[in-house]
């Protein structure tokens, strides 16, 4: 279809200005033709379908046509209407405000690269958006700066689902020959050999974008041949710190982990990536983050030999794949808690991690805002937080954390249940482990205790841990009941946290 003139009516819509004329489609601003007010600004995407166009162009529009109708959430434009694919192909969707990441990168030009904190923020926004897709059993598979829109409120909206793959629908772009489908600069190694549907391919693409943001260069260039694309099956890119000295080690660690040639060595889910980008001080820096010299020739040669045999293998359902590597959150009470409860919590965490290799653990405690002070030095936020972080680390010491990335967090809130639920929501936590009875308050039917509130409002599974009985004798102290009660009252006066 050639470009439509403004003012043309089309299937109930009135064509407005052409906002984008790409190789694959035109995008127009549109309004309802009957003058009805739209609830948000609209755009219409009309594919280019001239004679001589490749079939792939039309198929990718068909894929997007299918997916836009089922994807939901704030990380995709809202779907409004679709025309008949054969007679009148078009898609009407929300015109999301904001600029693309490409626009952001172009504006940097030759000026200074963004700060690590900015890069991390952008990366976390992209990772969250990707995770939201993965939870809907969809892999984007064409993430690149032009397809990431930065919403003014800070979240990322993903665009262009023409090469995406939804595990519940036949993959129209698949074929028996398993050709690489994607954009050469950002395509993941497994996509090069024809794997479509691994969520970790999107993590790789995010890694490429983070690399570009950090260094101004593309880690694998922009190869034009399939041999050039195959390079990433075995080659590590130059460490970002060799191009930019001031880049922190933790950020290089994160970027290079995203760019691991083997999907299994990358972040197991985008939620794990977002968590690292949001907690730089908790990133475990390895040699990968510290290196400033490239990978030695012989290592590359060995990998090259292995990669020569790499071929297509089907991927499991994305949602199942990311469910297998959940983020487990444990809420550890920091006040008025028996040793037995702490012990039982630890046991429960140990058990849930044991069942799930690769799962990530977030150890969280909530303190009341009154505990920190901006005037007294020993009650400064960092000092108080450090004290609680140490407490959490000490608590976690006996847990077998081999193979589980772990981080520790102190939240300040006067509403413990809400703080836990919000944290779980914000970080895509899959399982919350917490004590069933705290503060000497047993689980009761009519009192909405913290665990009950969390269980009711949490977006995920909640494991309520009951204190294990044999431990109770252990927990007995030398104090008389009166003394215990006194001690309890004293503590309660000092820093009362309803937890």
């Amino acid at each position: 279809m050639s470009q439509l003139a403004p003012g043309t009516p089309l299937d109930g819509f009135l064509i407005g200005p052409c906002l984008h004329a790409g190789g694959m489609a035109h995008i127009y601003g549109v309004t309802y033709a009957d003058g009805r007010e739209a609830p948000f600004p609209l755009v219409m995407k009309v594919p280019m379908m001239r004679s001589g166009d490749g079939a792939e162009n039309i198929v990718s529009f068909e894929v997007e046509h299918q997916l836009m109708q089922v994807l939901h959430g704030k990380h995709v434009p809202r779907f409004v209407a679709a025309g008949d694919l054969v007679n009148l192909p078009y898609l009407v969707m929300e015109h999301v405000p904001g600029d693309t990441l490409q626009h952001f990168i172009d504006a940097l030009d030759t000026g200074p690269r963004p700060e690590a904190a900015t890069i991390a923020k952008l990366g976390a926004a992209m990772a969250r958006a990707a995770h939201s897709l993965h939870k809907q059993n969809t892999c984007h598979l064409d993430l690149k700066p032009a397809n990431v829109l930065l919403h003014p409120d800070g979240h990322a909206v993903l665009l262009d689902f023409g090469l995406s793959c939804h595990a519940h629908y036949p993959d129209l772009l698949a074929e028996e020959l398993r050709k690489a489908v994607g954009s050469p600069a950002w395509i993941a190694p497994e996509q090069v050999v024809g794997v479509r549907g691994d969520p970790r391919s999107d993590i790789f693409a995010i890694g490429v974008m983070l690399y570009e943001l950090a260094t101004g260069e593309l880690p694998f260039g922009n190869p034009q041949t399939s041999g050039g694309m195959r390079q990433r099956l075995w080659m590590d890119p130059a460490p970002p710190r060799s191009l930019r000295e001031d880049l922190p080690e933790w950020l290089q660690e994160v970027i290079l982990r995203c760019l691991e040639p083997e999907a299994a060595k990358r972040y197991p889910s985008a939620a794990h990536l977002a968590m690292d980008l949001e907690n730089p001080d908790q990133v475990k820096v390895t040699a990968r983050g510290r290196q400033i010299k490239g990978t030695p020739f012989f290592t590359h040669l060995k990998r090259w030999l292995r990669a020569a045999g790499m071929q297509y293998q089907p991927s499991p359902l994305p949602s199942r794949q990311i469910e297998e590597v959940p983020i487990v959150m444990v809420a550890v009470p920091n006040y008025d808690v028996t040793d037995a409860t702490l012990y039982s919590l630890r046991q429960a965490v140990d058990r849930s991690l044991g069942l799930r290799p690769g799962a990530r653990l977030a150890v969280v405690t909530v303190i009341s805002p009154g505990q920190t002070s901006s005037t007294e030095e020993d009650k400064s936020e960092t000092a108080v937080h450090r004290q609680y972080l140490n407490m959490l680390r000490e608590w976690a010491q006996p847990i077998n954390l081999e193979g589980h990335q772990t981080s520790f967090h102190v939240l300040e809130s006067s509403d413990v249940a809400q703080a836990i639920v919000r944290y779980a929501e914000g970080n895509n936590v899959s399982i919350i482990v917490m004590g069933a009875a705290t503060h000497g308050l047993q689980m009761q039917r009519f009192v909405a205790t913290v665990p009950i509130k969390v269980a009711m409002e949490a977006p995920c599974t909640v494991v309520l841990v009951k204190q294990s009985l044999p431990f109770e004798q252990f927990a007995e102290t030398e104090l008389t009941p009166e003394e215990i009660e006194l001690e309890r009252k004293r503590k309660r006066r000092e820093n009362w946290v309803p937890f």
Partner: protein, 254 residues
């Protein structure tokens, strides 16, 4: 129009009723029975009766290979009493009235409704009962059916598995394993061929009955799995004195 596609009922009345109830809840307009009403299960007469009733109400009912196996001329052949299949065919023959057997014998092999072709096995030679079990056979069946340019969809049974075959960007057909309950867009400008599974004798490891719903105006195909009292169906097989194998098969779905 919404079609409920049911195949390979295999005299399993419990499963058939469960699927019909489920289909009614989906707002189905028309029932299509894609053959193999009898064989293996304990209720051949009741299932035939039910299907005759459905046919009177407008359902399409096709013939499958088991409708032939239970006829006198097939029973007289060599395999009659030695194999499990032969034993149930013999038993089924005697459960049915001559009128019922005749009704089964003259059922059509295929039926076409606009762009949809229904067939028990493979459309290229329906009477040969070829299993549409891979992309190669699916291709033969689809190519034969689409000789008629109106045909866009071929729906069949016979293999007791749910699969959808389609063309990606290459020439060969691709096989897709559907997720139960998820409507799959199957636009008319493409060709599709599906095996919709078995109502009365699932063999993929789950005892749940299989059937599918096709909406020809929205072009959506939904594969369903329906739980039913499969233990009662298995018990009935034992009580009828049929081979134990067919009872355990219903219990395990294998």
């Amino acid at each position: 129009m919404k079609y409920a596609l049911l195949s390979d009922l295999h005299a399993n009345l419990h499963a058939l009723e469960a699927c019909l109830t489920h289909a009614a809840k989906q707002g189905v307009d028309r029932i299509v029975i894609l053959g193999d009403l009898v064989g293996y299960g304990a209720y051949p007469a009741q299932v035939v009766e039910r299907c005759q009733q459905l046919q009177a109400e407008g359902a399409i009912v096709l013939r499958g290979n088991h409708e032939e196996l239970i006829q006198s001329h097939s029973l007289s052949e060599a395999h009659a009493t030695t194999s499990y299949g032969g034993q149930t065919a013999e038993w089924t023959h005697h459960q049915l009235s001559p009128a019922q057997r005749f009704w089964l014998e003259v059922l059509p092999l295929t039926a076409q409704e606009g762009p949809v072709l229904f067939v028990h096995a493979s459309a290229d030679a329906p009477e040969r009962w070829r299993y549409v079990e891979d992309d190669r056979v699916a291709s033969l069946s689809l190519d034969a059916a689409t000789q008629n340019p109106d045909v866009r969809f071929v729906f069949g049974g016979h293999v007791h598995h749910q699969s959808l075959y389609y063309r990606g960007t290459g020439r060969q057909l691709m096989r897709f394993e559907p997720t139960p309950g998820v409507p799959i867009p199957t636009p008319k400008h493409r060709h599709w061929i599906a095996t919709i599974g078995s109502v009365g004798q699932p063999r993929d490891g789950s005892p749940k009955a299989m059937y599918a719903v096709f909406d020809d105006s929205a072009c959506r195909l939904t594969f369903h799995r329906v739980g039913y009292d499969h233990l009662a169906a298995a018990r009935a097989v034992r009580d009828a004195g049929l081979p134990e194998f067919f009872a355990t098969r219903l219990e395990s779905g294998r």
